[in-house]
Amino acid sequence: MSRADLAAGKVIRMSLLFRIQHLLLTVLLTVLAITGFALMYHENSLAQWIIRLEGGVHNRGIVHRIAAVLLMANLVYHVFYMLFSREGKPELRQLFIGRQDIDDFLQSLRYNLGMAKEYPRFGRYGFKEKFQYWGASAGIVLISFTGIMLWAEDFSMAFFPKVVLDLAIIIHGYQGLLGFVLLYLWHIYNVHLHPSVFPMNPSWITGKVSAEWLRREHPLEYEKLKEEGLL
């Protein structure tokens, strides 16, 4: 953390590499959602308009597959980065879900109902963030596998009965819907609409948050940084 940041009361929360991964994820998932839902809800007039805009159902497929390949590349890179890089390894450790997160969740409910005095004190990642991270990751893995199965349909046909491919289509589509709900409703609420960040948590662009925000939202992390003399 630079002196200028410290002077301005800023803390780095997302490194450049993470921001690039996040931006790729944002763009690619949006493209995949638009092209994918157009096919899933093909009888809808808006979907039909989108398919025409994409140049027909064939071109729609090409756009969807290009975005999918980039997304899977992003995923593979992310996995390697989290497992083996100096920056990724500790990040991954702090993302593990433990007993504490369930307790935190229950305490937050009690707090909002007026039954607890204190809001749970989070470390680097709170239960909302962890839930989102693992939910989205599992979803992307599942949707990638079913997507590859359907893409290489002739290859799949050699191994699976038709019903497996039928299931793959259903899972692929509904998993997409699930991911959409998780990311575009829950995540947007948490990083844009939530009163503590409204109108936006800037860290996905600048990588930085204010020390004051960190102290309020992630007190354990704040205290840790203080201890380490990084603040």
Partner: protein, 422 residues
């Protein structure tokens, strides 16, 4: 007397036989005498309604007609020179068979009742200029027949008066594959009106004797398409139709009638784009599925498949109904010869998907999503629907709870207060 008359009679008969085309002057006036008046181009009479009717006869047209070697009195037997109004010409005196079948046709029945805007013999064949049907100039020459019939059947007023199909249906023939073949390519082998409807004995299709009655249609089309008829007879539709099942489709149910077009023509009811709609005309009907114990939702389960969606957006090379089920030779899946029989599915799917083997063909294909038919897909879909709905409800509840908490703490300050987390 007897001895005297016998040779005379014999001679007279012989003369009559020899000169039968040129009757003796005593029987009536010769052509020359008739043409003295009727050769005049200005000769006319005034009809009761005030209209002028030309009485001119074009001798050259008559001479080159099929009756050109006869004389006027062959038909106008009561003609003298000069004469008043003549009796109606009765073609049936010579053409008895044609007159008999005509009298049983829609045209003949109405004509006999005195209706005059339905065709008599001369409306189709002409009067003095009648030519053989093989003569390219004849109104009844194969390539001229459509125009001859359409002279009346293009007329909206007539079509409405006799409750006939919309005149557009008639005109559509000209753009059909048959109409184009005769009109544009000049092929005499192409079907014209009379090939399907008959000529003198034309009747509406709903009458059992009509040539276009449903029960006769496959055989009728088979006159020109025998190979297809043979396949059709063996198909489930053909067998059903021959067994008297009225709902079993005949040629026209899929191909249309006057609108018949090539499969490659996008407007055709059997083009790859339109065929799902055509088949589901029957196969999406609840009553037909129930009565013949057929699987339901054929159309929707196809249109929701990738094949269906791709077809909807114009990828015509994807499989449509006919690609898997066959065309004229459609058989139920239970028949070992059917292309969609379990044992034949690898071959049928393999036409496009070479890897689709016996393993792939396990289980049902394009079934409605219900617990009985497709439990796996049904269960997964239900799970996701419930899961996603529950998640959305929980999200909304959570957001609501956070806002509720903040509202309760709005007076407090500091941690968890106005500016605090919620």
């Amino acid at each position: 007397m007897k001895r005297m008359t016998r040779p005379f009679l014999a001679a007279a008969l012989a003369a009559a036989a020899l000169f039968s085309t040129v009757p003796a002057g005593a029987a009536g006036p010769g052509i020359g005498e008739c043409m003295d008046c009727h050769g005049d181009k200005t000769i006319e009479k005034t009809l009761p309604n005030g209209q002028a009717l030309s009485l001119h006869v074009d001798l050259r047209a008559y001479r080159s007609s099929v009756h050109g070697k006869d004389s006027c009195v062959t038909c106008h037997s009561d003609a003298k020179a000069p004469h008043e109004k003549l009796a109606k010409v009765v073609c049936g005196r010579c053409h008895g068979d044609a007159a008999k079948s005509y009298s049983m046709s829609s045209h003949g029945i109405l004509r006999a009742k005195g209706v005059t805007d339905v065709p008599a013999c001369y409306d189709c064949h002409g009067k003095h200029d009648i030519r053989r049907p093989k003569d390219p100039e004849a109104r009844t020459f194969r390539l001229n027949i459509a125009a001859t019939c359409l002279r009346c059947h293009k007329d909206q007023a007539l079509e409405q008066k006799y409750n006939l199909p919309d005149q557009k249906a008639m005109v559509a023939y000209e753009r059909s594959v048959h109409g184009m073949a005769s009109k544009k390519a000049g092929l005499t082998g192409s079907a014209v009106c009379v090939d399907c409807h008959g000529n003198h004995e034309i009747l509406p299709g709903d009458q059992p004797r009509s040539a276009t009655n449903r029960q006769k249609i496959p055989t009728m089309c088979g006159k020109c398409h025998p190979g297809i008829l043979e396949k059709y007879e063996k198909s489930v539709h053909g067998k059903g139709m021959r067994a008297g099942i009225a709902e079993s489709p005949v040629c026209t149910d899929c191909h249309g009638e006057h609108t018949i077009a090539r499969v490659s023509d996008p407007s055709s009811s059997v083009s790859s784009r339109n065929i799902p709609k055509t088949c589901s005309g029957c196969h999406e009907k609840e009553s037909i599925s129930t009565r013949y114990a057929l699987p339901k939702n054929r159309f929707s389960s196809y249109m929701d498949s990738f094949h269906g969606i791709a077809l909807e957006y114009g990828m015509t090379k994807v499989a449509n109904c006919a690609s898997c089920h066959g065309v004229h030779d459609i058989l139920p899946a239970s028949d070992p010869a059917s292309t969609v029989n379990k044992a034949n599915l690898p071959k049928t799917c393999g036409k496009c998907h070479p890897n689709a083997g016996p393993n792939f063909a396990k289980g049902d294909v394009h079934v409605e999503v219900s617990p009985g038919k497709a439990m796996g897909v049904f269960a997964v879909r239900l799970f996701y629907t419930i899961f996603i709905s529950a998640l959305v409800i929980l999200f909304v509840l959570h957001v609501g709870l956070e806002l509720y908490g903040r509202w309760n703490r709005r007076k407090e300050n500091g941690t968890g207060g106005k500016e605090g987390r919620s």
